[in-house]
Amino acid sequence: MTDAMTLHASSTAEMIVCDAVDKWYGDFQALKGVSATIAEREVVVVLGPSGSGKSTWIRCINRLEAHQGGRIVVDGVELTNDTRNIEKIRSEVGMVFQQFNLFPHLTVLDNITLAPRWVRKVPKADAEAKAMELLETVGIPEQAEKFPGQLSGGQQQRVAIARALAMEPRVMLFDEPTSALDPEMIKEVLDVMKGLARSGMTMIVVTHEMGFAREVADRIIFMESGEIVEVGTPEHFFTNPTEDRTKLFLSQIL
């Protein structure tokens, strides 16, 4: 733990550091030396065509996938085979999935309180009070006793955000949170995410919502074929991209 501590002390402003991260699936290389640093309270939007390695990258950051080369450090703790580090990082990094992945056999309230109670050992009453607070924040306190199957997609995704926030993470990862939603529900989820960004949460968001990227992102990272092609402020990125591949991508979607 001591090594990790010193690292932490020297880099308070750097929340996530990736250095030349490699990842293979069999003989397919999904990430080719991805290097990036994300500062505390920063909101980064990752853009890129599908199959470009965006999801793989953020899944590596909380060890849903193990990276095979390079290094990842989250809040001063390096992701290695060390179980303690993995546990620590997972409880500090919240994640929201494209398919929500709520636990269908538990009520909304139980979905949110499960991890605090079993991982953080928070007493049940405290966990529930906190969960109600969070449901208040995402705007659906009246749904607490329902099962996920009884909610709309947008409501489910907001519960999923509340579930991730219940662990009081220092970083939130969003893996295409609005891609599985009907158009009329996208806004309610994006509003919650905007509020979260304003509150100073460190966020990495993989999305195709250009409006969101333009409005909220501090920086935009553009990936293609497992590489980071271009990094810049939204202004720079949308108005004056330097790389040809970025221009091509933008011309296709805008």
Binding site: S10, V17, G26, S35, T37, E78, N81, R84, E230, T242
Partner: protein
């Protein structure tokens, strides 16, 4: 990317990646747990083996297979040999009896099951309820109870007299069993079989040709009819011309002799080479699959385990062949030569008569036991009870599978079929049944497996199947472990063959689907 470059390796470069202590390393913990479990299981088994060995030794029971070569001196009530010379031969009689029962059972249970399953879906209330009553009654009573009942009923029939016939003398039924007309393989069968094999091969090519013709010209070419015609032609010609293959006897004889002269060590080396080669080629292919344009991909611990496992498997196979059971090689040599000599005998002199013969059941006199043989196809009470038991029981399950399979085809399919102008029969044959069959196939395979396993209950009614004869051997020689091992081997082989066949069909169906 110029000034926008964000990579901050400054902090990382100054530190080394810390290696976690071993007890927190996921890879080490993972493998430690697995190896511990393996040690625990192997240790427990070894413990049991040591204790069991001691206990067996104390009781003076050796675990070997000598009893297979010793004349056990007991008679078998039915089968290909009523007075086997050796224990092995006795067991073989049992195996043949089991397979006879299993194959006949599968055949009849399938037909019955499909009929009842279709009846279960009938719009006709009476038919539907009759099928439903059959299914609900038979599948909820244990098969062994049913077998006992059939045995009790059949055993309580009258004595065998000239009057015990039914269907105008086509069969006899009595407490001694059921006797039916019999078609059997006669002298010239093997020679004739050569014609049938050639006919099938030629028929296959003709079939393929006709199909191609139909596909290219669109003309209806009746490929199935043509293939059948070819086969029939060969069968008819062969019926008269089959003695021409008599010369094969000498050929098979000399192959057998040549096989006989293979020294055991050569066979051992050959088999060892085969084992080593397959292990090595597996590892090579595995490594090839991991090769990337950039060189060998990083092997995960899982991959390394697989490679080690293949290697260890090869070494164990080698040990087994060379040290533990060298007899296997000589057994293969012997059975090979036995097989060729058997063929030589079947093609030999005096084997040129009619290929197939048939006869009506006759009885020799009042109360005389009908034997499996010239008096017709005789089922003993044991066989009949087992056959009825396993067949009727399995048919109930097959009926449910068939029904489920047909119901699983979405309604839209038959609607689509009628929309493109197929009539009811065509839509059933071309659209519904193929899909229903695909759904039903895996559970059907399971039922065949269950049926085969249920034939092991013969011991309860005195049917001489492999378990029943094995049990007699066990009681005579006391070598329980050996007999139980042979049973397990036999049934595992059966299960494996059935699942191989079912999987083969399954794969074929899937390819057809795409």
């Amino acid at each position: 990317m110029g000034e926008q470059r964000v990579t901050s390796t400054s902090t990382l470069a100054s530190t080394q990646a810390t290696k976690p202590p071993w007890y927190r390393d996921t890879t080490i913990v993972k493998w430690f747990a697995q190896v511990a479990a393996l040690v625990l299981v192997v240790g427990a088994l070894a413990f049991l083996a040591i204790v069991g060995g001691d206990n067996l030794e104390a009781k003076d029971i050796a675990t070997d297979f000598d009893f297979l070569n010793i004349n056990q001196g007991f008679d078998i009530s039915e089968g290909i040999d009523s007075d086997p010379d050796t224990g092995g031969r006795a067991l073989w009689v049992g195996i043949v009896n089991t397979l006879r029962l299993a194959v006949a059972g599968m055949f009849v249970a399938t037909i019955l099951g499909v009929l009842i399953g279709v009846a279960r879906l009938s719009q006709n209330w009476m038919v539907n309820k009759a099928a439903s009553a059959y299914i609900e009654t038979l599948r909820n009573i244990p098969v062994i109870v049913q077998i006992f009942i059939y045995a009790a009923v059949l055993g309580g029939l009258g004595r065998l007299t000239a009057d015990s016939d039914f269907l105008w003398g086509l069969g006899y039924i009595s407490a001694k069993g059921v006797s039916l007309p019999r078609v059997f393989v006669a002298d010239g069968f093997y020679q004739w079989a050569v014609f049938l094999v050639i006919g099938s091969v030629v028929g296959f090519f003709v079939h393929r040709n006709r199909v191609r013709l139909q596909e290219s010209t669109g003309r209806i070419t009746y490929p199935n009819l043509w293939a059948l015609g070819v086969l029939t032609a060969f069968a008819i010609v062969g019926w008269f011309a089959h003695p021409m293959w008599g010369f094969l006897s000498g050929v098979f004889g000399s192959i057998g002799d040549a096989w006989d002269s293979i020294p055991q060590i050569l066979m051992q080396l050959l088999l060892s080479a085969l084992v080593v080669f397959s292990a090595a080629s597996w590892i090579r292919r595995f490594l090839d699959s991991k090769r990337t344009p950039a060189g060998l991909a990083k092997l995960t611990d899982d991959d390394i385990f697989r490679i080690i496992f293949a290697g260890v498997g090869g070494v164990i196979g080698l040990l087994f062949l060379m040290v533990l059971w060298p007899g296997l090689s000589s057994w293969i040599v012997n059975s090979g030569s036995d097989f060729w000599h058997f063929l030589a005998d079947k093609f030999g002199d005096g084997r040129s008569g009619q290929p197939v013969d048939a006869m009506m059941p006759t009885i020799e006199g009042e109360g005389t036991l009908l034997k499996y043989g010239p008096q017709g196809l005789t089922m003993t009470v044991g066989f009949a009870a087992m056959f009825l038991g396993v067949t009727l029981y399995t048919a109930a399950f097959i009926a449910e599978i068939v029904r489920g399979g047909i119901l699983a085809v979405p309604k839209g399919q038959s609607e689509a079929a009628s929309a493109i102008g197929l009539n009811r029969a065509q839509s059933l044959r071309q659209v519904i049944l193929p899909q229903a069959f695909r759904v039903s196939l895996p559970p059907l395979g399971n039922q065949y497996l269950n049926l085969t396993k249920n034939t092991s209950l013969g011991i309860a009614v005195g049917y001489a199947d492999v378990v029943s004869i094995g049990n007699t051997l066990l009681n005579q020689s006391g070598k329980a472990l050996s007999v139980i091992a042979l049973w397990m081997l036999f049934y595992l082989a059966c299960s494996l063959s059935i699942s191989v066949v079912v999987n083969w069909f399954n794969v074929r169906m899937k390819i057809v689907e795409r």
